[in-house]
């Protein structure tokens, strides 16, 4: 069955640097991959979606790539700020509108 994997280790980076988070999947390429942000004690919030046939998608300081050869999506935050500190989840669309989520990667941006 399809699995989606994110690095469970927290990512610590300095303010102003680019944060890069990884989402790997097994088996077939999903039609869409989505990225969500989750703050402690809150529900996830949708950030970006990328289609299988898109290489890259941008929104302000955020960029998502989708490499079907590597079976991987990368999520980049450029010029990172302490306010970007959160857990970031990737998810793919399975059957019947269901999403399968990765366990998330916690990002900590320090001054």
């Amino acid at each position: 069955s399809q699995k989606i994997e994110q690095n469970s280790e927290a990512l610590n980076i300095q303010e102003g640097k680019t944060a890069t988070l990884t989402c790997n999947y097994t088996n077939y390429s999903p039609a869409y991959l989505q990225w969500y942000r989750q703050d402690p004690g809150r529900g996830p919030v949708f950030l970006l979606l990328i289609r299988e046939n898109e290489k890259e998608k941008r929104k302000e300081r955020l960029k998502v790539t989708f490499d079907t050869t590597l079976k991987q999506s990368l999520f980049h935050i450029t010029a990172s700020q302490p306010a970007d500190s959160a857990t970031y989840l990737c998810a793919y669309t399975g059957t019947a509108s269901k999403l399968t989520f990765g366990t998330g990667t916690r990002l900590q941006v320090t001054l």
Binding site: Q34, G41, G43, P44, L49, L89, T93, A96, T103
Partner: protein
């Protein structure tokens, strides 16, 4: 803006109690979902519903039931709460699969942190 409202942020219940978690959405979404989230395990789907009175089991339905009597409201029921049901519960909604714009983007409530003692 889409709003998904969960009735309680924090809830403390006793083992064996019947527990109701309520969720209301205001976007006329067809789909509604209940997840639980535990450290290291991520979001796990308990039940979902794609229409009024319709329900489908998710990955971990045991010990739970759901009710969807109106399109905007989806309730999660713990018939007899147990300590292993202590968790963060998240409700979400989305348009029906195939909606061109929505692409199954899910909108979440703020969550209910349930403690069963």
């Amino acid at each position: 803006d889409v709003k998904v409202t969960q009735s309680s942020r924090y809830l403390v219940k006793r083992t064996g109690e019947k527990v109701f978690l309520e969720c209301v959405q205001d976007m006329d979404h067809e789909n509604m979902f209940w997840y639980r989230q535990d450290p290291g395990l991520g979001l796990r789907l308990i039940y979902f519903s794609y229409d009024v009175k319709m329900k489908e089991k998710g990955d971990i339905p045991e010990g739970y039931s759901v009710s969807r009597e109106k399109k905007e409201r989806f309730s999660l029921i713990l018939e007899s709460a147990s300590t292993n049901q202590t968790s963060m519960y998240l409700c979400a909604s989305s348009f029906l699969s195939g909606h061109l714009i929505a692409k199954n983007i899910q909108y979440f409530g703020a969550g209910t942190r349930l403690s069963v003692l």
